[in-house]
Structures are given as C-alpha cells and as structure tokens.
C-alpha cells in the first residue's frame, strides 16, 4: 500500500536512449525501482529531483508517468534543457527523489471509441493509457513527430492499438497535419479525444473539438515549481475566468473547462 504523494528516494536502474541521439536531440527512458508508489491513472505525473541538481536548478521537473508497474517506474524524457540534460545523463545507482502520482489523469471509458492525439514527447502518458486500457481495440493513436519515429515508443504502441504517424519535416507539413487532426476529431466527435503535446497542438485540438462538438481532454505542460498546489505558478484560466492550478486540478482538463490562450 503506497502513501499517496509521499516523497520517495529512489535509485536509477537504467537510462536508455530511445533511438538515435544527436547533439541537439535525444529521448531517453529512465527506469527507477518502485518501492510502493500508489497506482496511477494514465495522464498523472511525478515530480523528479535527482540529487545531482543540488540547489541549481532549484525546481524539480514534472514528467508524465510513461509506465508504472509494481516494481518499476518508467519515464520517457526528451533532453531539451538543463534539467532534462542532467536527468538523461544519470547512471544506474544514482539517487533521485520522486513524488506522485500527482494531478488528474485522462478519462477512461473502455466501451467508447477513443483516440489519442500525441505530439512528440507527448506520447509518454499514452504508453500507460494503452497498457492499462481494458479494451485496447477501442483505442487509436495519431502521432505527430519531427524526429525519427524510432526515437519514440511508437512501435510498442502500434502493437497495442491502431496507430498512425505523421512526420513534420517542413513548415508546409503543418497545415496537412492540422487537416489530418480535423478529420480525426470529426470522426471521433461521438467518442472520446485525448491530446498531449506542445501547446499549439492542444489549442488546435480544443478549437476543433468545439467546432465538431466533440468531447476532448488536453494535458497541459505549464511550467511548475512545486507540482503539489503550493505555489500558484502553474495556473491556467478556466471557463469562468478564474486561474486554476494545473498541477492539482490538471494537468488533464476537458477542453470546455478552460479558456485556453496562446501564452503560458
């Protein structure tokens, strides 16, 4: 029985590049032991602070739970800055403090046709979603990416669900991806739409969901300092114009709960 939320001092079991790693780009799987974290709902996240952070960077970093089993916690991390660079260079045995599962995960409606719209590293929570879904036959994935497909857990996901990838190579590809999204949203207007990825993708999904009257959830990646509701730094404006914390009331929201804007 886990203690909800409590901080766990874990050790890294492995750090594995997910595919080709370049000077500018790399995605990694971080595996840690799991000494009793509470079971997670897919879409929930953990806060992570390796001892190597010292007092700089000050903030821990939030990551979606990519996979949580009774003996393993797996994160899927894109190295894109100071904190993620440090994390992706950890070695087996290195100490890391983790707390979670935090926040609200994705809705689960096993009997309802459900599509997962993922952009880049936003694919992470859908690993857990697909792996724990009781009827994966009702699940589809549309995945937009810029790096080679082998950098992402796309092959694994394709074995579980109907999956389609869309590579964005040039700026011209973006409008084509958006029309692909529109087709999907229209198709799943009577089902359930789940989206995770860069903010522009989420804004597009929200706009399309409104146009087609579809039920859609988005997972926000607002900057977080504490991850536990203590700082009020991670807020998003809700439909009533009030600021709500994305770490406790999100990161997953129904699009009609929010009034999403460009800035975050």
């Amino acid at each position: 029985m886990g203690i909800s939320g409590a901080c766990r001092d874990l050790t890294i079991l492995s750090v594995t590049p997910a595919g080709p790693v370049g000077a500018q780009f790399g995605c990694y799987y971080l595996e840690m032991d799991n000494p009793g974290l509470d079971p997670a709902v897919a879409g929930q996240f953990v806060m992570v602070r390796p001892a190597a952070f010292g007092s700089d960077p000050v903030w821990p970093r939030p990551f979606s739970i990519c996979r949580l089993t009774p003996d393993r916690l797996t994160l899927f991390i894109q190295a894109c800055g100071r904190g993620t660079d440090i994390l992706c260079r950890l070695a087996p045995g290195d100490p890391v403090t983790v707390w979670g599962p935090l926040g609200q995960g994705f809705a689960l409606e096993p009997a309802v046709p459900t599509v997962m719209l993922a952009g880049g590293v936003g694919i992470a929570p859908f690993m857990e979603y697909a792996a724990t879904h009781p009827a994966p036959g009702n699940l589809s994935l549309v995945f937009g990416h810029r790096q080679p497909l082998s950098c992402y857990p796309f092959a694994e996901l394709s074995q579980l669900v109907r999956a389609e990838a869309f590579e964005e190579k040039t700026p011209d590809d973006l409008p084509r991806f958006i029309s692909r999204l529109e087709k999907t949203v229209a198709e799943f207007a009577g089902g359930l739409i789940l989206a995770c990825g860069p903010r522009p993708l989420l804004l597009t999904v929200a706009r399309l969901a409104r146009r087609y009257g579809a039920r859609a959830q988005v997972s926000l990646e607002n900057r977080m300092a504490c991850g536990v509701g203590g700082c009020l730094g991670c807020v998003e404006k809700n439909a009533l114009g009030q600021y709500v914390q994305t770490c406790t009331e999100g990161p997953v929201f129904w699009v009609d709960e929010l009034s999403l804007s460009e800035d975050a």
Binding site: S55, P57, G233
Partner: protein, 306 residues
C-alpha cells in the same frame, strides 16, 4: 537527542524554529501528504485579502540561477473562504498557524485584522507590506517608514491579543529605518525578508519571462541578502526577528539564529522537495547535538563579529 529547539515568541511558543513562508506552502494542507504538519514550528499561509483575488497573468514564475522569480499577484481565496474551508483542517492546536495579510490601504488592513483577530485558530497576523507583485500598495508600503508605521498601527489596533508580525522588504536603502518604524507602530515581531525585485528576459523572443515583467527573486540565491538584513535589523531593534530567504538546510537555520533571528521560514526550498521543511525540522536537533548547542537561546546572536 538532547538539544532543545523550542522558541518563545510574543504570545506563542513554537516547538522549533522551522516555519514555512507565506505563498510557498499553499494553505498548509497541500503539504500534509509529505509530513506531519504538527512537527513544524509554525505555518504561515498564503497571503489573504478581504475579497478573493485572481492574481496576475501567466507566465508567473521563472527559474533563475539558484533561485526563481515570481509574480503571482497574491491570488487567494479571500479571508472568508480561508476561515470556512481551510483553517478548520489545519492542526492549529498543535502548531501555530499564522495568517499573512494583504490589503490596499490602512482601512482595509484594519478590517482584515479585525476579522482574523476573532479566530481561535490564528496564532499571529503577519502583515505583508512588501509584495512586489501588486499594483496597489504592496512594496511601496514597505519602502516608506511613515507608511510602514501607519499600517502597522492600523493592524495592531484591531488585532486584539494576536501578535502582529510585520514582513519587511529588502528593496529599500535602509531596512533598519523601516524596521524601527514598524516597531514604533506596534509590531511584535519582524519578518525579514520578502523577495527582491528582479527580471528575466529571453533574447530570442525579446519577451520578458514573466507577463508582469518584474517579479520577486527568492531561493538560495538571496540567502546572503537575507542574512545581512536580519543581522542589521537585529542590531537595531529588540523585537524578535524571523529570518526568511534561501533557507534550505538545518545549517542555514543556524546561520540565521547565529546572526540574531528567533526563527526562520522556509520558502522556495519547499518547492525543491515538498518534505523539505519537515526534513529540516527533523535534522536541526541532530545538528545542534553535533555542534554542542544545547538550546537556541544560548546560540542566538552570538556571531563573533569585529
């Protein structure tokens, strides 16, 4: 374990000097999963105003070397909702709960103090005359000795038997002048310091990293400034001082006690890991044992300077 960590403050006793700083520990319960709130020396809750406030636009926070900037803008649920929904869930019988007050003028401060003074669960009133992130008042209150004195007096008159803490800004040329004015106005305790005003910008997008452009700097980066302020204020006034600014270890706690503080508040370090304050409170008596410090009164203000 033999060291005595207890601290006597006007109108209250704290079992240890490790408190949490306003705005960095929510309304308290957010951190209950990470430790026993009764183990803390005190909990200062998020700044409260008479009416709920929405706060500033996003982005509100930015990370900086060994610290962060914030411009939350005092988003809060309002004093009424705090007293109804939050306070009853806190262990106020075992740990002092300190309300942090924000208002736009002296009348509002007085009214807010009056509401809170009637509450059994509130151990003290901490007056925020140093918030850098609001349009009305805020930091300007804490930059003018006359104003600081006047606001303290207004709160003190309505505070009944509740001790009044005044939280000072480091964004002044002479913090001692403000400290003296607050004490003359009736402050029982001084809290030093609030955040330092600062900025961060992005050279590519040419945008400020905070929507508010300017924010308050906090975290380990500001500890030397906080220590200096506490030292100067302790030299000048006899009211107890609570040190705040970059505390992230039991060693840091003793540094503040050494320069004269009665207690400390943990702020940004609560974000580093949510059990930080609990860990520091647990570690402190061990560290005192290691250093041969029997109690904090004996150690306080014993800096060998000059």
């Amino acid at each position: 374990m033999s060291a005595d960590t207890a601290v006597r403050l006007p109108g209250m006793r704290a079992k240890n000097p490790v408190m949490t700083a306003s705005g960095t520990f929510g309304y308290g319960m957010e951190f209950a999963p990470y430790g026993d709130l009764r183990r803390l020396g005190g909990i200062v809750v998020k700044g409260l105003s008479l009416k709920p406030r929405t706060g500033n636009a996003m982005p509100r926070i930015a990370e900086t070397p060994c610290g962060m900037l914030n411009a939350i803008g005092l988003q809060n649920c309002g004093v009424e909702a705090f007293l109804r929904d939050k306070l009853p869930r806190l262990p106020f019988k075992d740990t002092p709960i300190i309300a942090n007050l924000y208002a736009c003028d002296a009348d509002e401060f007085a009214e807010l103090a009056g509401v809170l003074a009637a509450e059994e669960g509130v151990a003290a009133l901490e007056v925020n005359i140093s918030c850098p992130n609001v349009k009305a008042g805020g930091i300007a209150f804490g930059q003018d000795p006359a104003m600081a004195g006047k606001l303290t007096e207004a709160v003190k008159k309505r505070a009944g038997n509740k001790p009044v803490w005044v939280k000072l800004s480091p964004n002044v040329t002479d913090i001692v002048g403000i400290a003296r004015a607050a004490v003359l106005g009736g402050a029982d305790v001084l809290t030093c310091i609030n955040t330092l005003t600062g900025m961060a910008v992005d050279i590519r997008s040419r945008k400020p990293r905070l929507a508010n452009v300017i924010g308050g700097l906090s975290g380990p980066a500001i500890k030397p400034v906080a220590l200096r302020c506490v030292w100067q204020v302790c030299q000048a006034v006899s009211a107890p001082v609570i040190g705040v600014g970059g505390v992230s270890s039991a060693e840091d706690v003793l540094e503040f006690i050494l320069v004269g503080a009665h207690a400390v508040q943990i702020g940004t370090a609560n974000f580093m890991r949510p059990d930080m304050a609990f860990r520091i409170a647990e570690r402190l008596p061990q560290l005192m044992d290691e250093l041969g410090i029997k109690d904090l009164d004996e150690y306080r203000g014993t800096l060998l300077a000059g």
